[in-house]
Amino acid sequence: MAFSLTWLPDVLVNAGLKVAESPGWETRGHGDMGNVLGVLCHHTATPGKNSGNMPTLNTLITGRPDLPGPLSQLGLGRDGTYYIVAAGKCYHAGAGLWRGITSGNSNLIGIEAENTGGRDDSPWPAVQMDAYHRGVAAILQHIGKSADFCAGHKEYALPVGRKSDPDFDMDVFRAAVTDILNGAAPAPVLIPVVTPATPTQPARATLRRGLPNDPALVKIVQTKLGLTADGDFGPNTEAAVRAFQSQHGAVPDGIVGPQTWLMIDP
């Protein structure tokens, strides 16, 4: 039977965010959660800034030898995609205290954002931080709480100083979440489905894994990236697009939208 947090993907998609569901997430969890009272923010501290979009995902799902997964409900990739890991209770909080909440695993939704936590990965990618703000705001809005009920792991964890994540200022974070909750923030930037025609190119649809992509367009991309041009936008093509995007300083989301079209085939 599915656990109670099945609303997570819809809430996040409605906030204009990219969401990816890991297979089997609905029934994953150490039992069901208690009352959902807030959100606990983490970073993964997995080393290697260029190790991928969400290298910690498998660990979040399966855990480690001494502690079985899931280790958090949500993972946040470097491109701002939310990976839904579990709908039940996850082991992410440990001992701590925030606004009277002492049972963080039962009462707080854990978000593990991919970041090394070191200087090499600071500042965070703007798209990821924006998605962090918007995702937390969407969840808090859904459970009817203010930004006060979003804590950093470093603020929650006891004894003080036990944890250092996340490595950004939580007061600034909460201020940004409050702005979104109050409608004071600009609308989220969405990726257009069509790239307008240019003098040299016709209008082209945005390509993305999982969409009914035009095989002819996919083949163009695959040829440009040096892949086998089979016209199927699958995981390998997506990974190649991500690599291309990060080489060219774009958001490595694996989606061939207007910006990526311009870079890949101007």
């Binding site: 990219k18 993964t44 979009n53 480690r64 701590g96 606004r99 006060d148 470093k154 603020e155 944890k163």
Partner: protein, 395 residues
């Protein structure tokens, strides 16, 4: 909270100063051990005291007197004849300290034996030391200034040999105060230079640390906890090693990265500007260096004073002396989490508390140890190919 935060930042900064000045002092000690500047200062002080500027007469006789000759290895050679010694004068093997009693005894013995008498022929017909004999010898001394000093000391002693010795000791001590003054001034200069080097080598920028502590609650509280522990340590002694480890452990924005320019900048993210890349770091380093010049003891006292002020502001901390409390206990957070039931004063207003009563948090289930999997070292990394398909985020 305002006052408390400011105080905590002050405590944090003072603690950093203590650590930096400890490191500087340790380096200064090392240099002193090598050069023995104090000995050079003492030698010059004694030459001036004895009005023997070229170090061939009374000063030489004093240093070669058996009572003092035993305090150092090798022989006595007069130092340079400056008005005041160099910052890093070499004291070779001369003693750094001569006790006032030894000095007085040696001087009186020299006076009793006569200046020309040296240690070797003191055996022949050695006269019994009495004030009268000394006075007679002193009147024949070639050194008129010392003659006056000694005659004054002997005459005011009214026949008491011990009193005369005490008079000479007083005179010597006042001369030594001057030597200490010189030495202190020179040490401060040397430490200033050391501090400048240490500060820049470690990139300890006070302005940057203040900014960082003001923004970063957790780090500030951790730093204050360390400072409290240090203040409670009554020995007030931190070794070089301990100071360095502590400084490393604080996780402060100090030190250098591979990219030197970025780590020196006030705000690594901000573009280059006169303040950000040049003036800010320079000013920050200078502040740290000057602060370190004041020395660790000064900052220890300051730390204790600020702690007292803080405990008057935060009464719950004061009780710490009666009932031993873990300094790590997060007082501030405890206040946060226990909002007063209804309109009770002294708590922090909880924005949501007055909107609607929140559902009670779940009590920890029995046997639920609240595991914490955050920060787990990932064993099998997920490559981009292994990521699930995403949706949303498009128009």
């Amino acid at each position: 909270m305002f006052g408390s935060n400011i105080l905590e930042i002050a405590i944090g900064i003072i603690f950093v100063f203590i650590l930096v000045s400890t490191i500087c002092t340790a380096i200064r000690e090392g240099i002193e051990a090598k050069l023995k500047t104090r000995a050079a200062y003492l030698e010059q002080g004694i030459r001036q005291l004895l009005h023997d500027t070229d170090g061939t007469g009374l000063a030489k006789a004093l240093y070669e007197h058996p009572l003092i000759y035993g305090l150092f290895n090798g022989g006595y050679t007069a130092g340079k004849q400056n008005k005041s010694p160099d910052l890093l004068a070499k004291g070779s093997n001369l003693p750094s300290y001569i006790p006032s009693k030894t000095f007085a005894a040696a001087l009186m013995d020299i006076a009793a034996q006569g200046v020309t008498t040296n240690a070797t022929d003191a055996t022949t017909g050695a006269p019994v030391i009495t004030l009268d004999a000394i006075r007679k010898n002193v009147t024949e001394m070639q050194n008129p200034e010392i003659r006056r000093v000694l005659l004054y000391a002997i005459d005011t002693a009214k026949g008491d040999l011990n009193k005369a010795q005490a008079n000479i000791e007083d005179w010597y001590n006042s001369g030594m105060d001057r030597v200490s003054g010189w030495y202190k001034r020179s040490t401060q200069w040397v430490i200033l230079w050391i501090a400048l080097v240490v500060t820049i080598a470690l990139n300890v920028n006070t302005i940057k640390i203040v900014k960082y502590l003001a923004k970063n609650d957790t780090q500030r509280k951790m730093l204050v906890a360390s400072a409290e522990a240090a203040a409670k340590d009554t020995s007030k002694q931190i070794g070089y090693q301990a100071a360095q480890t502590q400084l490393d452990a604080q996780n402060l924005p100090i030190g250098w990265d591979n990219d030197c320019l970025t780590s020196a900048k006030m705000d690594p993210a901000a573009p280059n500007s006169f303040w950000n890349t040049f003036m800010g770091p320079l000013l920050g380093w200078l502040i740290t260096a000057f602060a370190a010049t004041l020395g660790a003891p000064f900052w220890f006292d300051m730390l204790n004073k600020v702690m007292v002020v803080r405990s008057t502001i935060k009464p719950n901390e004061k009780s710490g002396e009666g009932a031993p409390k873990d300094s790590q206990t997060p007082q501030v957070i405890t206040i946060n989490t226990n909002p007063p039931p209804t309109g009770g004063g002294g708590g922090i207003t909880d924005a949501t508390a007055d909107q609607n009563p929140p559902p009670p948090p779940d009590p920890p289930a029995p046997g639920d140890t609240e595991p914490d999997g955050c920060g787990v070292t990932s064993t099998d990394l997920t490559g981009d190919q292994g990521l699930p398909e995403s949706k949303g985020g498009m128009i």
